[in-house]
Every structure is written in C-alpha cells, then in structure tokens.
C-alpha cells in the first residue's frame, strides 16, 4: 500500500517538484499516473523507491516510512517493489535467464529456488524460448518483457512501471499493458507512469493526474477528462 500525505519536494537547485501531493494506492490496485513532462511524476517514483526523501510530508510504502528509512534498509524497501523502466535497463552482457536470475541472487535465493522460479516467470511473460539470448538479440517489446520478468521474479507487492511503453510501437505497447493487467489480476499492485493518452483510454483504470507538482485529478476513467481540466 502507498500513502503520500501532503508531500512537498524541493531540490537543492531550488526546483519545487511537488507541492502538497496526497494520494493513496491500495493493495491490488492498478493505477495510471499521468501528466506532462516536468509535472512531478519522476519525483514521485524516486520517493517511492527511496532514492530521495520528501522535504515535507510523509511517504509510506509497503510498511516502510520513506522519511525515516535508514540507508541500510533501502534495499529491503526496494525488494517489495518491482521497477520497470522505459529504457529496460537490462545488463547487456548477461543472457535473458541471467538477467532475471540475478535479481533473485541479489535477495539471497538459493540456486535451487532460482532454477524453479526463473523458468516459471519467463513462461509467464512468454520468453521461455529466448532464455539463452542476450538482450541485444531481442526486440524492444521482448526486452521490456524481460524487464517485467525481472521485476516480478521476487514476487513484489507492487510493480512501478516508469513509461514502460515509451520505446515501443502501439501494438507492443498494448501487449505490455495487457501483460501488466494480467500481473495485476494475480494480485500485484501496479502503478504505471505514462503520458500515452490512447493507451490509458483503452483501459478503464484509476488515473491519477499530476501537473505542476499537484494532483489535479484522481478518478477511474480515461485520460481525456484531465485535458479538459488543464484546458
């Protein structure tokens, strides 16, 4: 579960990225976080992953208080999350299998557990047949699916997808979103950050709109309703 209570964030250079953001995401929810560039979306993700701390307000995520979390506990906070990036961030010199397996090694899983779990998750994202390939040998959509498999491998409470379809064509984008929807149906909370209106409009999910560091809308439905607010 995520709770942000009246959160402000100012960077050392004086940029005020968030100005009193409050929101709550329940376990098992699928939400879109939408907004234009510079609206504060990335700052919210950084707060949720413990990369930065809020200037004011409180951020609680999966039982961790980001304001008070100690440096040595941040890896454990991150283990409750699976993060997916626009640029995939796969290790080029590792195979698909190794890219996924090493996320399990990081949390101290035994080789036996890894041998059982990795093929299962690769099957879930439809990449069992490409386990031995290197990321460079895969298409963009496939690379993103490896990234999703890596995010899923440790059974996180929540998946945070930061512009997961930013580098993909519309057909692959839809495929990835549908995969995320399926993961959500299995009980994992999903927060997808995007500015692709068409994609958001195809799913009838909760949409949290942010602009100028403030939440300007939070309801179930399409992206279009926020354009009306902004205009």
């Amino acid at each position: 579960m995520v709770r942000m209570i009246d959160v402000y964030k100012a960077y050392p250079n004086g940029t005020r990225a968030l100005k009193g953001v409050s929101l709550q995401i329940e376990d098992g929810e699928f939400s879109f976080l939408v907004g234009p560039s510079g609206s504060g979306k990335s700052t919210i993700i950084k707060l949720l992953t413990g990369e930065i701390k809020p200037t004011e307000g409180r951020v609680l995520i999966n039982g961790y208080n980001v304001n008070a979390v100690r440096q040595k506990d941040i890896p454990f906070l991150r283990r409750t999350l699976g993060v997916i990036f626009q640029d995939f961030r796969l290790v080029e010199k590792k195979s698909v299998y190794e890219n996924v397996a090493f996320a399990m090694r990081v949390v101290g899983s035994s080789p036996r557990e890894i041998k059982i779990r990795v093929p299962y998750v690769l099957d879930l994202v439809g990449l069992s047949h490409k386990a031995r390939r290197r990321p460079a040998e895969l298409s963009g959509g496939e690379q993103q699916r490896v990234s999703i498999a890596r995010a899923l491998i440790n059974n996180p409470k929540m998946i945070i997808a930061d512009e997961p379809t930013g580098n993909l064509d519309p057909a692959r984008s839809l495929e990835i979103m549908m995969l995320l929807e399926r993961i959500n149906a299995l009980g994992t909370t999903v927060l997808a950050v995007t500015h692709e209106k068409e994609l958001v409009n195809r799913f009838s999910k909760r949409v949290i709109a942010i602009d100028g560091g403030r939440v300007i809308g939070d309801r179930t439905g399409g992206y279009y309703q926020y354009e009306a607010i902004r205009n």
Binding site: K72, P75, R78, R79, R89, V91, F102, S110
Partner: protein
C-alpha cells in the same frame, strides 16, 4: 555469508574479468608496467647501496705497535687481540706485518735514490704492525678507540675521512632513492587504482540495476572486490616474472662489463626475489582492491 553466495561472488568476479576483457587487460598492463618501473628502480637503488656499503666496509686500519716490543710479543699481541671479543665483533681479520716485511714493502715502493731508510743500514726504524680489516665502517671510530687503549699499541692509523665521505654519499643516495621509490609507488597506486576505477565506471549501469532490484551494498561490492583482487594478483605475478628475467639480464650484463672489480657486482637473485615478490603482491592487492572499493563506494551512495 552463505556458501552459494561466496561461490557466486567468486564466479562473478572472475567472469567480470573476461566479460570486460579490454579493461581487464588495460588494468593488468598498467599494474605490470608500474610495478616493473618501481621494482627496477628499487633493485637498482638496492644494488647501488650494497656496492657503496662494500666500498665503505673495505677499510683497514693499521695498528702500529710500540717499538720496545719484541717479535714474540708482537705475535702474542695478535693472539690476545683475537681473544678480545669487544674489538673482534667489528674485526674481520688482523694480519701481522713484521718490521722487516714493512721495510721490504716500503723499499719496494720507493725509488732507491731517495729512500732515506737505506741510511739506517741494518737498523730498521719501522715497527711491527697489524693490518686490521674492519667489518662495519659505521663503528670504525669505536674500534679505533678500543684498539688505542690496548697495551703495546703506539698509534692507530685510519682513513676516517674516506669512510665518512662514503657514508655521506651512501646516505644521500639512499635518501634520494627512497624519495623516488615513494613517489613512484604513490604514482603507481594512483594509476592502477584509476584504471580499475575506469573498469568499474564502465559498469555503473549494472550497479544501478543491482541497486534498483534491492541489492545490499555488500552484495554489490564483493564481486568487484574479488575482480580487483584477481587483477592485482595477476598483474603482480606477471610483473614479478618479468622483473626476475630483467634482473637476470642486468646481473649478467654487470658481470660481463665489470666482473673484475670485486666491489661492483649485482646482489644475488635469490636474495632479492622474495622481498620483490612480497612488495609486488602487496602493491597489486592494495591497488586492485583499493581501486575497486573506492570506485564502487561512489556508485553506492544512493
């Protein structure tokens, strides 16, 4: 640490060396080059110091006995001297030169036309003396003082000025060499650790991914530490064997060029190799592990 974790760290460390082949090659190359430069200079300094010390120690003093001493008493002086432990600690040998032998040697060196000793006829004015070889030139003055106090000693002749000059030369050479070695070592460690930093920097994205999936600092650090350790070890061993070969060539060259001058010779290979190996391994480890730990620390801040 669990067993499979340890084996994973080692596997990853070794794998990292091959995966980033060019950077690993560069790191090992720089370690070898720096250690060779530092090692060659240190060995040169060590040999120079040894040669000066041998020159310095190749000193003798002349202990001239009282003119009233008979030949038998002069021989007895030698026997007594050999029993004097305090003096003999710094004496390599003491050779008796009788007054007749001294006259013979003196006459052999001087033109008969100007040899004033011939005027004495059979009445040899020279005295019995001992040629005493000193072991440690630094303790020469103490030995002279002790010899002068012995009964029957008229005077002790020594070229303390030469000894002092050689001592000063040796001190100066040692200071300069030590300074240069320290500078070379610092530069070497700096260059080596920077090369390893570069190799680690090449993998910053991998580290960022590890952080994002919840890796602890320990988990991220270990494979890099092992990789740095392996690179340091490899570089040290290669440098050691090259240094060994180079030293052999140097010693052979010196023997061919100035083999007839006993003071100028290279130190025995066996005597210098072990310290060289120890220093190379230490420097390699320090640079390898230090370079990787320092760099990773930078990437582990968030």
């Amino acid at each position: 640490m669990k067993r499979y974790e340890t084996s994973y760290f080692f596997r990853e460390g070794i794998r990292g060396i091959f995966l980033h082949g060019f950077m690993s090659f560069a790191a090992v190359g720089v370690i070898v080059a720096c250690l060779l430069i530092m090692g060659s200079f240190s060995l040169l300094a060590l040999n120079l110091d040894n040669m000066i010390q041998e020159l310095q120690n190749n000193n003798e003093v002349l202990v001239v006995l009282d003119e009233t001493m008979t030949s038998d008493e002069a021989k007895q002086f030698g026997t007594d001297l050999a029993k004097n432990e305090a003096i003999m600690r710094n004496v390599q040998s003491a050779e008796l030169i009788s007054r007749d032998e001294a006259l013979e040697v003196f006459s052999g060196k001087v033109d008969p036309e100007t040899n004033f000793l011939l005027g004495f006829g059979d009445d040899n004015p020279l005295r019995d003396r001992y040629r005493v070889q000193i072991m440690d030139a630094d303790l020469m003055q103490e030995t002279i003082d002790a010899l002068e106090l012995l009964p029957g000693v008229a005077v002790v002749h020594a070229r303390l000025d030469i000894v002092e000059d050689l001592g000063q030369i040796r001190d100066t050479v040692n200071t300069i060499c030590l300074l240069l070695i320290v500078i070379l070592m610092a530069v070497s460690i700096f260059i080596i650790s920077n090369t390893i930093k570069l190799a680690t920097f090449d993998r910053r994205e991998e580290i960022a991914v590890m952080r994002m999936v919840g890796a602890t600092k320990r988990f991220i650090r270990w494979p890099f530490v092992i990789e740095g350790f392996m690179l340091g070890l490899l570089g040290s061993i290669v440098a050691f064997f090259l240094q060994w070969r180079l030293y052999d060539v140097f010693a052979g060259f010196l023997a061919r060029m100035v083999g007839r001058i006993p003071m100028i010779h290279a130190l025995n290979v066996g005597d210098v190799l072990l310290p060289v190996l120890a220093i190379f391994l230490l420097a390699g480890f320090l640079a390898g592990i230090g370079g990787s730990v320092l760099t990773i620390r930078k990437f582990l801040r968030v």
